[in-house]
């Protein structure tokens, strides 16, 4: 077990301040600032000092990957999530700590328990609502827009920019959820907000159980959670420890905004602590990233005091064709990476979105025989069942050394779904344990084809059958059958091995090819940013009247700037900026707006220093 005192002593001054801070605190944590470690030590410290059992705390994180990361790190201090320590995403917190316990006491609607709409079901309800209103668009696009609208409504923010039809569709959709006794993913948070706001007896109950709320990545959690937090602050003596970085807000399209974290840090009852040190990147990279972020607002991030290497930034001019961006990677970037001895899996090529550029890059990587993992193409679905299967896969070739997964972890999840499906008993009995053990712990080769292994585990544990037994598992069933289908010969995952799957594709020897958004929270020795052209990053709006591209509106520019910043700051040692003067857009027109202003700003900054 890790020694809390010793680990605490290793923190820097600001990190220690954050751990010791006894009231509401916002920690502004730039890239590489050691925020996760600070958070974990904060939690361990709170549980051993301020918070007396049986009271506890809730730790909310951005997604299931980060939940896993926290679970492992907390286990190092002997802390295991459970009744006293809730660890989960915002949605699981809202569902399990607010809706489920109190739902039946709040409204008839929830008297039979909380039923979560399967993705498919929610999709078809949305399409129905669109039909009724006569909105004819791709439903996934509408869904994203409605999420933003919904969050604005829930947070009582201005919705004047939204079309009347959108508002009508949303109303109908929400009505049909209600009449079907369902909540969808977003509704978990909206309903939780409503409970907390309108039922005066609920906030004290929450504050009694969780005198502290610890929230990670606050900037990307959106308005409804922010409203839950401020409502709890107003009505109870709950204390909040929120960590985040407004500069790294990248989910604007779902309604996230850097303003929420700023608003929290500016409250009188909050103390704000900035973590100054960046332990990830070299001095030059840190300086450059700040130039990219906001030339007028220096962030004053410092490299770790004992950091020797400066870090490097390469400017590569790909001139006028997107093809050149792709070939620059193989011809110019790759020799530099080899020369530095950087292993391929420590290189990330980050792009904005699918399209010509991505296709070209993939093609030239294949031609030059550079092994890569295109995450967004072949990415495994993000779902608890997949995470669990990945753990099982890892154990089956690496034993429990794999990612610190314990056999109890494996058992717990399987038992949970079996129990939900009503196919098993209250406590897992011996035969169930034996079955799971045999299925998961029989040693496999890391190179076993994924399709074969999935087939095996599905049949020994009757997974599909179990998942078909309960409606709330239908999303998991869909995910599993989708995964199995994708593993068939000729399908995107057809060549994947057990090891690819267990390591989520991050296999030794393969370069990571992924989106800027998906790079959030990760780090690599080298980061390659192709396509840095005005019109791609930042986006430029087409003006029909003048038949020209205008300046990006400030919110768009700021969002893109943050996205670029996030990509740039993933690098420990080297960043390759591939820019160009013009490109041919997807409709075949040449767009010539010059190199991305972000590149120019960095260039200027580095030259001047």
């Amino acid at each position: 077990m890790r020694d809390l005192h010793r680990e605490y002593e290793r923190l820097n001054h600001e990190q220690k301040e954050a751990v010791r801070s006894s009231g509401n605190t916002v920690v502004l944590a730039g890239p590489g600032s050691g925020k996760t470690e600070t958070l974990v030590i904060k939690i361990a410290h709170l549980l051993s000092s301020d918070i007396r059992a049986p009271r506890g705390l809730a730790c909310l994180t951005y997604n299931n990957d980060t939940v896993k990361e926290f679970r492992n790190r907390l286990a190092g201090f002997g802390i295991h999530p459970g009744r006293r320590v809730l660890l989960g995403t915002v949605h699981s917190f809202c569902l399990n700590c607010i809706l489920r316990p109190f739902g039946s006491l709040v409204s008839e609607r929830f008297s039979g328990g909380i039923r979560v709409a399967a993705e498919k079901q929610a999709g078809s309800l949305l399409e129905q609502a669109m039909d009724q209103v006569g909105l004819n668009e791709t439903s996934s696009w509408v869904a994203t827009r409605l999420t933003r609208l919904r969050r604005r409504i829930d947070c009582r923010e201005d919705i004047s920019g939204f079309a009347e039809t959108d508002i009508q569709v949303l109303e109908r959709y929400r009505e049909s959820l209600e009449t079907n006794g369902l909540v969808d993913f977003e509704e978990m948070v909206s309903s939780a907000l409503r409970f907390v706001r309108e039922e005066d007896w609920i906030p004290p109950l929450l504050a009694a159980r969780f005198p502290w709320l610890i929230i990670d990545e606050y900037q990307d959690l959106g308005g409804p959670l922010h409203s839950i937090v401020t409502t709890l602050l107003e009505k109870t003596d709950i204390r909040v420890f929120a960590v985040g970085d407004p500069d790294q807000t990248i989910y604007d399209f779902t309604g996230a905004s850097p303003e929420y974290l700023r608003a929290l840090s500016e409250r009188d009852d909050f103390r704000s602590i900035s973590l100054r040190f960046n332990y990830r990147s070299g001095r030059r990279l840190i300086a450059a990233s700040q130039a990219a972020l906001a030339p007028s607002e220096p962030r004053d991030y410092q490299p770790a005091p004992d950091r020797q290497d400066e870090g490097e930034v390469f400017f590569i001019n790909a001139n006028d064709a997107l093809e050149n961006h792709a070939s620059a990677i193989t011809e110019q970037v790759w020799p530099e990476i080899r020369a530095r001895g950087i292993p391929p899996e420590e290189v990330a090529i980050l792009y904005r979105q699918k399209g010509t550029l991505l296709t070209l890059i993939q093609k030239s990587l294949v031609e030059e025989d550079i092994p890569f993992h295109a995450e967004r193409d072949s990415r495994y679905p993000r779902a608890p069942i997949v995470q669990w299967l990945q753990d099982c896969a890892g154990i089956s070739f690496a034993g429990t050394d794999f990612d610190d997964v314990t056999s109890e972890d494996v058992m717990r999840y399987f038992h949970a779904i079996a129990f939900a499906a009503g196919t098993t008993e209250i406590e897992p009995d011996l035969s169930l344990r034996t079955r799971v053990y045999e299925a998961v712990f029989s040693e496999k080769s890391p190179d076993m084809p994924l399709s074969e292994w999935l087939g095996e585990i599905d049949s020994t544990l009757s997974l599909t059958q179990i998942l078909s037994a309960a409606p709330e598992l239908s999303d998991d069933r869909e995910t599993l059958s989708g995964l199995i289908a994708d593993c068939a010969k000729g399908k995107p995952l057809g060549t994947h091995s057990l090891q690819d799957f267990a390591r989520d594709g991050r296999v030794k020897g393969r370069t990571v090819l992924t989106t800027l958004h998906s790079s959030k929270g990760r780090q690599f020795d080298a980061v390659v940013l192709p396509g840095l052209i005005e019109g791609i990053l930042p986006r430029r709006p087409w003006n029909r009247d003048t038949r020209s591209y205008g300046e990006p509106p400030p919110p768009v520019l700021s969002e893109d700037r943050r996205l670029f910043y996030v990509g740039f700051t993933r690098a420990r040692k080297v960043v390759f900026l591939i820019f160009g003067n013009s490109f041919t857009n997807d409709r075949g027109y040449a767009v010539t707006l010059g190199a991305s202003r972000f590149v120019k700003e960095i260039h200027r900054r580095l030259r001047s220093s």
């Binding site: 049986p54 316990p101 006491l105 159980r209 209250i426 406590e427």
Partner: protein, 598 residues
């Protein structure tokens, strides 16, 4: 009110087919032997007792209610408890937060289930297919584990436990957590240990003692030889610093000469309970526990009645949830009136229960009953049936009259033997008592005087009006206003009698004149011992006999009252034993005899 159990529901467990009992912060459970008092406590332990072994929570065939066709086979044993009074207690709220079934005030429920595992044919499930679970709230999937019991628990003290052994045994002693919680400087302890060692050494090196030690060793080695190596040395208590606290003993006298084992069993019990309360309080203030319900079974063992009353007056009126099962009127008599639970066997063989906590008493009624139960040693609660009467006169006379009836063995009816108590309410306000008895499900009859009165030349009976007000449902009542109409009187009386309320024509003593005037004169003469007053009494008797006007009765009543109605009745009772009383008394006696016959 503190965090406490406010309801328990039991299905298919031992004596209980389906029991649903409201409970109060302090609950006193009374009931005959074998009615399931211990089983009720055990049911609570299944949900809440952290010291109950894991294996014990898996029940066995004999734990199913007897009335089932067969144990197992799909039958489910369920014990649900509700907890309330924890709003404002943040630690308790933290624990019970996701077990709520009610809001404002919060109400939490924990349910223990012993049921077959999911199976296609549960009716075929046998012992091996059964398992238990405890869940919170209404969702069976919301399972709660030992973590809840660790904080909110029930501690059961079984009847006739070995209090002395418990206090002496370091592991079980309630003294242990108290001593262990003390913060004593280890250096101080070390120093004390040293001086003790020194003193011990000095004592043991006294020649005679040293000699004795050698002799014992020699004897042992003679007996079994040196190989088996029984090493015997003499010493005092261990003197190592860390053992020091363990050697602290309790003495039961000021001179520290008499150990607990030399005291009485009673004092061991008192000391045990005192230590226990002390340690529970200490652990609660140290946040080691959130709430512990104490369940004390039949604590009256070995305790003097006075001590029982003092001890439980203390226990039952402090801010600490406690459940007591008892046979002792002394314990029941000091229980808060709303804390009583009565268990009894139903005609169908399973036990049912009634609780006073849900009876809507006014504050005045509650105070009256509280004092009454205290003074009468809770007799009313322990009775199988009750005859409520106005005063001492009826209390003396009714058992004597009862002997004119026959019991099931053909012997003269003895009210005591059939468990019927005659309870005087000392006045005419029967209402709190009937409420209590109805609430507890104890059968009762009421006997009250007719008390005719005349207002504006209209005659009516205060007794009938009084009785009418006692009827539980307004629909069955004759309008009080109509009771001045003589033609309504017989009907009103009949209706009341059907409901167990028996109203006389006049006043008890006057009613008796018809058949027992001689016995009354005799009684009066015996009590006065003077001829002159006997003559006066005879005159009063003649005046009252057959008279309709209450004015005519008053000389008689005044004379009897001067001697004391009770005393008069007490003496009269010896003369009328086994005689048939006036009809309304006879009907009352017959009815109660019927009601208690199960």
């Amino acid at each position: 009110m503190p965090t406490h159990l406010s309801r328990v529901r039991i299905n298919n467990f031992r004596n209980f087919k389906s029991l649903d009992l409201p409970l109060a912060a302090s609950t006193v459970i009374v009931g005959e032997n074998k009615v399931g008092k211990t089983n009720l406590i055990y049911a609570l332990r299944l949900v809440l007792d952290p010291s109950l072994a894991e294996l014990a929570r898996t029940l066995r065939a004999e734990d199913f209610w007897d009335g089932l066709k067969a144990p197992f086979q799909g039958n489910v044993i369920e014990i649900a408890i509700e907890i309330s009074g924890f709003d404002g207690d943040k630690a308790a709220t933290a624990i019970l937060n996701d077990c709520l079934v009610g809001k404002k005030p919060s109400l939490a429920r924990l349910t223990y289930q012993f049921r077959p595992r999911a199976a296609i044919e549960p009716a075929k499930a046998g012992a091996l297919d059964y398992e238990y679970s405890v869940f919170g709230g209404t969702d069976e999937k919301n399972r709660v584990g030992p973590d809840v019991r660790r904080w909110i628990s029930l501690m059961a003290l079984p009847a006739l436990r070995d209090a002395e052994g418990d206090v002496q045994n370091w592991r079980r002693s309630p003294l242990r957590p108290l001593l262990e919680a003390l913060q004593i400087d280890p250096n101080r302890l070390e120093a004390i240990a040293k001086s003790l060692t020194k003193a011990t050494k000095e004592l043991l090196s006294e020649k005679p003692i040293a000699k004795l030690a050698d002799e014992i060793s020699e004897r042992i080695s003679e007996m079994v030889g040196g190989v088996h190596g029984v090493e015997a040395t003499l010493g005092l208590a261990p003197t190592a610093a860390d053992q020091l606290l363990r050697s602290i003993r309790l003495f039961v006298d000021g001179d520290k000469t008499r150990q607990l084992s030399e005291g009485s069993l009673g004092s061991a019990n008192i000391i045990f309970l005192a230590l226990l309360m002390q340690s529970l309080d200490a652990r609660r203030s140290a946040s080691e526990i959130v709430s512990t319900v104490l369940a004390i079974e039949e604590p009256e063992a070995h305790l003097h009645p006075q001590v029982q009353r003092l001890l439980f007056r203390y226990f039952l009126h402090r801010e600490h949830p406690v459940i007591v099962t008892t046979h002792s009127p002394n314990v029941a008599s000091v229980a808060p009136v709303e804390s009583l639970v009565l268990l009894r066997k139903s005609s169908k063989g399973y036990s049912v229960g009634c609780a006073t906590s849900e009876i809507a008493f006014t504050d005045g009624e509650r105070d009256d009953l509280q004092r009454y139960i205290d003074v009468t040693r809770a007799e009313i609660v322990f009775a199988k049936g009750v005859i409520l009467v106005e005063g001492a006169a009826e209390q003396f006379l009714l058992p004597a009259f009862a002997q004119c009836l026959e019991d099931t063995d053909g012997k003269a009816l003895d009210l005591d033997r059939i468990g019927v108590s005659v309870c005087p309410v000392f006045g005419t306000d029967f209402r709190p008592y009937t409420k209590l008895l109805r609430g507890l499900g104890i059968p009762y009859v009421v006997i009250t005087d007719g008390d005719p009165d005349t207002k504006d030349t209209k005659k009516s009976f205060a007794g009938i009006r009084r009785g009418t007000r006692l009827l539980p449902a307004a629909s069955t009542r004759t309008s009080i206003k109509k009771l001045t109409d003589a033609s309504k009187w017989p009907d009103a009386r009949n209706n009341l009698a059907k409901a167990g309320i028996f109203v006389g024509q006049s006043t008890l003593e006057v009613e008796l004149l018809a058949d027992f005037s001689d016995e009354m004169k005799e009684t009066y003469a015996e009590l006065m011992g003077s001829d002159k007053s006997s003559v006066g009494f005879s005159k009063a008797v003649s005046k009252a006999a057959g008279a309709d006007d209450p004015q005519e009765w008053s000389p008689l009543l005044r004379r009897i009252e001067r001697r004391g109605k009770g005393r008069f009745a007490q003496r009269l009772a010896t003369k009328i034993q086994g005689e048939e009383p006036p009809p309304y008394l006879l009907s009352a006696l017959k009815m109660i005899q019927d009601l208690v016959k199960v």
